[in-house]
Symmetry: C2
Subunit: 766 residues, 2 copies
């Protein structure tokens, strides 16, 4: 075994989980089928707003194979869940606020029996007037979704003197934009298996982004001791934010409490996932942007209306992040950004990759293009002129003291053939085709922001067999963070993959490391892990010195499977060391808390949590789109994404994240739209809600701007989200460029483009 | 509970163990009387050298209550023990080498039955010629104690050009000195209780200085797996080196293997402790010392003959340390120090406080006084002139780069009333009394020296109840190190004694921290502990941040029983934090390896282990002695000890260590002498072997030279041994000063002084 086979940071190591996943050996939560399994199924409201008059479970209880039918009366705790605002009932008791509210829960011997019994539950409602548009919900006489009012959060960010900024400007552009709900559309829908053990503990294997927080959610909702709950989170088949917060957890725990010690499985089918799962917020955005004649940005005004649906989830925080990014990655001295996050009787909106930033990126980048057009400037030059540089302050008043790579990203696009050759390429469109090229500059904050500890505790151990085991505390939803952790540990401890083991989150074995979200995962856990690996190395050297009777530890090094003392050449196998080291020495933990802004600007007084952020990643994308004049269908024929995300631990994983984000962003740009009519989702399946397939996604080329963020592990920053913000504005710009219409809503479906062309009077050819 | 009640380093905190010890609540190993106890008793050889012809155990086996009678044939492993040289049988099989060799082991229902049965064992020996004097044992035709020859170690330290140094010197003095065996004479004699558990593990509670090493001793001797042995070491009732290495351990483990799962106790009575326990080496020393006319030391020659008795124990290492100190704490450019550590048929000599340095301190300090007399110089000025200063090299060629406080110690004595007023005081002697004042300058190395890792692993934890528990890995033989560890942890973690817990060494719970020896204990474990406390603090702050939702850990602090966030004023009780922190987070460990000399001088080529040392503590003592002209009895009427030992963690414990060392040194100076005739100890009890009582010890005043050793915990160095080196030379100088005779052997008993006075022709008055 040679040194060169050890894993190395910076190399495109294969995914540690690749073989187990492609062979089916890796078990997702959905793959759990313990013996003697029961199934749980919720009965959903089916109406958007109504008072519960009666829930008759008698017929359901009598159904063969039914073990229990539970209602709100059976929930022993607060019956309220929610990450920050605990406003969502586990089982609705007094009223329902959206069609997906659970009103009862069936536990039965089979999945089919549970579903049939759920259908037999008779729920009578007194319908209440419903409200679906945020601006309507803000009216004084609007129906109240919650007694406390429909405003979850109203806040503003004020920087400089916006009024004065507008007054003195040479040019002002305006726009109104809207984006719809987006579905997470993960492969593995919400599911888990829970069992109440003989000692009363509830053990749950669940597809979740936040296993440690889940314990508190369940404990609070069901009146349990946090320590009586164990959550195990295997690899997730996708999540994107939709599994950040309770989905099946509280229902499953409740079911387990009535299952006589048997395991209970709950697995939402696709329709239930649409109905009861979380969505990306639909947002309406009203923008004004002022600049000098040379294109220097002077002032911004933005009004943002986030539709959070029936419950808060992380709505306030999503809007906060959107507001913090609402001015784009640009230097604007004066800004007033106003936001309203509003309850409606829509499905619940919450966290989703981009976390409120996707939406404003669309609006702001449209504004930049309009400004460029009005000034007759090159849109890329306008962006370069105003891009945030190190030392600038962003619209929240935060000074950019961490790595700030907007400019090099734009410069990389400026020199890229897709951009430099765009005229030639556009000229090559065939008959009934129109081509356009668009760009977008985006950024995305990392971490929770001020007000919440963005923390991780890494655990690594030498196993009794002498292997290195990484105990990952933060879910891997598919982005590859767990594999990256193994790579980091392998690099520091000089071991190859065959000598490494990986344990996925388990609240009994791994340690609280926050949620898998906010582009924070590898930064926070990775930083903690480096320290844990260094500590394990120190311990191994100490014990090797004891075993080999060597009086200093400085000249030891790790090699594959052993520790060697350089000067003497003596070595000891890790397996042997493991025999002598007690568990407290074989197990190392280390902690990291992400740095926060030290001097919080006075710009966003209404935010209690999550404002502002310190560290951002940057991206500039170029999209080459061909529109069919006859159908209106837009095809993205070429796409290039440049990303600045600090150091790169694994270029392959880095590229995968950018490619995946672009694919998801292209779905958002071109086809995804949760159509809700009177609170009822019209397209709750993949026959009617379309997401991109491999055939819809172009070859995406990616480039990395070399960079280093000293506070990050191996200089890295999180890049899981930044890439999802650019496709919509880039494609929109390309479509505008192609067909000459103005784009102000998404997705850019064929009918939409056809319609726009008609409106803009350019529909003659169609 | 207020901040000021927290323990603090530098304060004379009461011993943490004081109350439990004075109330009898604290249990020593000897206090262990588990139910269903058996007793083990060894049959000893009784002759100094002989071939074993026959060991007939039949009568013993038949004795009522006897469970087993074991001989060498029953020892399953190598049947050899020894810390470095494994030359000592657990039960002698072929021959016996000193009177204390075990030839059989009885396990019986009662202590009395075991003793009576042991007496019934018929052991027939073929006597072999014995050898008792090292210089005789070195003769070619001497009887062989071991087949490999009688020389355990012959070595020299050569620095500069000794021959040339002597050739050019203005003045040369010579001397021959001898010191006898000294008994450790601890209160609690060697003992332990062992039990073989159902799973085959042997669990032993034993009075030992080296619980972790004991496992290896037992495993090697008895052919067991190291991990199958658990050693628990409660507080010791004294040890002084005599419990460093196996005493009862292997015998007890063997007994436990034949006790059917019942616990077996072995507790040597005082006579067996004298017979089979380890002694301070008797040494003969031949010195020559050359100086310039102004007193500047030029050259030293020393020949040292260490009598290690029948087995090695740490004889070679004891002599090595003696040789390293053989030139005293002085700057001598040229030195040849030759040493022979020799097997004889005497009782086994081994480690004892001072570890070979006591003996040479006597010789060298006598030489300094003779040189001063010959030059007509003040003995203190002579010492000051030549004392090692920072940057000097000692006789081993080691440059003094650590704190080196010999000069300030001597200066403190120079200004002390006992020294400045000595003429007046001597003049005040009553009729038939003669008074003298003597000084001694001493030093003592800390740690194992090069070649062996001098390492400790501290463990500290937050208990599930929210207390701070220190798990001490290095035995407390009474010196107070365990209490000091609690004080360090209390200081760093800001807790008072009521919130602290202490666990004494237990190989299953605490971590390898080496032996309680070599003035290394607090330095090494203390350094490790500081890091462990700092780590626990970091963890507590992290978890407090998680619990209190605070986004940085920098502004937390510990207070009595809680963690508080300064800016917000929020706090969380340790008890509550403990509920959330899993064990891996509540338990912190940290390691320390004592620094070693980086450029090993080429002066002591024969030493493989333990040479040279890097860090020393220093002392200067003054003794005021009154000799009764009629009886020869010397009384120490006043005594002052100045010590430089770096920073002081607890001035009370510091003073106790110096006072205890002086008391033990005064015993060595005035009364202690293990008289061995033809290999048989003549005074194996406290009626005939006298140690100082409270009535024999003067009020000892102590002073501390303020100092700082940056590598030490809170700047400290070990001072457990340095004080024991000075009383003999100081008292000898005082006696010489009083009666005018020349003193070259110890102890200075009344008959000895009377004899010396007669020899020196000054006995008229007697």
């Amino acid at each position: 075994m040679t040194e060169e086979k050890a894993m190395a940071v910076g190399r495109p190591e294969p995914r540690f989980d690749a073989a187990a996943k492609v062979t089916g050996k890796e078990k997702y939560a959905a793959d759990e089928y313990p013996e003697n399994l029961l199934w749980a199924k919720a009965r959903r409201a089916g109406i958007p707003h109504g008072r519960i008059v009666r829930v008759d479970t008698s017929r359901a209880k009598a159904f063969p194979g039914v073990v229990a039918v539970l209602t709100a009366a059976d929930v022993p705790g607060t019956n309220r869940q929610g990450i920050i605002h605990k406003d969502q009932p586990v089982i609705a008791g007094d009223k329902v606020r959206h069609c997906g509210d659970a009103v009862a829960l069936v536990v039965a011997e089979t999945r089919s029996a549970a579903a049939q019994a759920a259908a037999l539950i008779e729920a009578d409602f007194e319908p209440l007037p419903a409200v679906f548009a945020p601006e309507e919900a803000l009216q004084p006489d609007a129906p109240l979704v919650h007694d406390g009012g429909n405003t979850l959060l109203a806040a503003d960010i004020r920087k400089g003197d916006p009024e004065k900024g507008f007054a003195g400007a040479a040019v002002v552009v305006e726009g109104e934009f809207s984006v719809p709900f987006q579905e997470h559309a993960f492969l593995e829908t919400e599911n888990g298996v829970a069992r109440r053990e003989a000692d009363g503990r509830i053990v749950m294997t669940v597809s979740t982004q936040a296993p440690f927080r889940d314990r508190f959610e369940i404990a609070h909702a069901l009146g349990l001791d946090v320590n009586s709950i164990r959550i195990i989170s295997p690899f997730l088949g996708g999540a994107f934010g939709g599994k950040d917060g309770a989905t099946v957890q509280c229902l499953l725990a409740l079911a387990a409490m009535h299952a006589g010690g048997r395991p209970v499985k709950m697995w939402w089918d696709r329709e239930e996932s649409f109905l009861a799962g979380y969505k990306r917020h639909a947002v309406r955005m009203v923008y004004r942007l002022a600049a000098d004649a040379d294109g220097t940005l002077r002032a911004l005004s933005a009004k943002l209306y986030y539709d959070t649906g029936a419950y808060a989830h992380l709505g306030g925080e999503v809007m906060e992040l959107g507001m913090e990014h609402a001015a784009g990655p640009y230097r604007i001295p004066n800004a007033l950004i106003e936001g309203w996050c509003v309850y409606t009787n829509h499905p619940v909106a919450g966290a989703m990759r981009g976390f409120g930033v996707c939406q404003v990126s669309f609006a702001f980048e449209r504004m930049m293009d309009r400004l460029a057009a009005k000034l007759g400037m090159d849109p890329l030059d306008l962006r370069l002129k105003n891009a945030l540089r190190p030392g600038d302050t962003n619209c929240a008043g935060v000074k950019m003291i961490y790595s700030t790579g907007m400019v090099p990203c734009l410069e990389a696009i400026k020199g890229h053939p897709l951009w430099t050759d765009r005229s030639r390429w556009k000229g090559g469109a065939g008959p009934f085709k129109q081509r356009g090229v668009g760009i977008a500059a985006v950024f995305n904050a990392m971490g929770y922001g001020r007000g919440l500890p963005d923390a991780a505790i890494a655990r690594i151990e030498l196993t009794p067999e002498g292997k290195i085991r990484v105990l990952n505390g933060v879910s891997d939803m598919g982005q590859g963070n767990a594999s990256t952790f193994v790579q980091i540990a392998g690099d520091i401890l000089r071991q190859d993959a065959s000598r490494m083991e990986l344990v996925q989150p388990d609240t009994d074995r791994t340690l609280p490391s926050g949620s898998s979200s906010a582009s924070r995962t590898t930064y926070t856990y990775g930083n903690a892990l480096i320290g844990a690996c260094d500590e394990l190395k120190r311990r191994l050297f100490h014990w090797a010195a004891l075993a080999l009777l060597i009086d200093e530890t400085k000249d030891f090094k790790l090699e594959a499977g052993c520790v060697r003392h350089g000067p003497s050449g003596k070595s000891i196998p890790l397996e042997l060391l493991a025999r002598f080291m007690p568990e407290v020495e074989r197990v190392c933990t280390n902690r990291c808390v992400m740095p926060v802004i030290q001097e919080v600007p006075d710009t966003g007084k209404a935010f209690r949590l999550g404002f502002p952020h310190a560290i951002f990643s940057y991206g500039a994308h170029v999209a080459c789109v061909e529109v069919d004049e006859l159908t209106g269908k837009a095809d993205v024929l070429a796409y290039h994404a440049v990303t600045e995300g600090g150091g790169v631990i694994n270029p392959r994983t880095f590229a995968q994240q950018v490619e995946g984000a672009v694919a998801q962003g292209l779905g958002y740009a071109l086809m995804e739209d949760v159509q809700v009519r009177d609170g009822v989702i019209q397209n709750p399946d993949f026959f009617t809600y379309m997401i991109p397939t491999a055939m819809d996604v172009p070859d995406i080329s990616t480039a990395i701007v070399p960079s280093d963020e000293p506070s990050g592990p191996f200089g890295m920053k999180g890049i899981g989200e930044v890439g999802v913000n650019a496709p919509l504005p880039a494609v929109a710009a390309a479509v505008e460029d192609a067909v000459g219409c103005s784009v102000d809503c998404a997705p850019l479906t064929a009918p939409c483009i056809l319609g726009r062309r008609s409106e803009s009077g350019k529909g003659e050819a169609l």
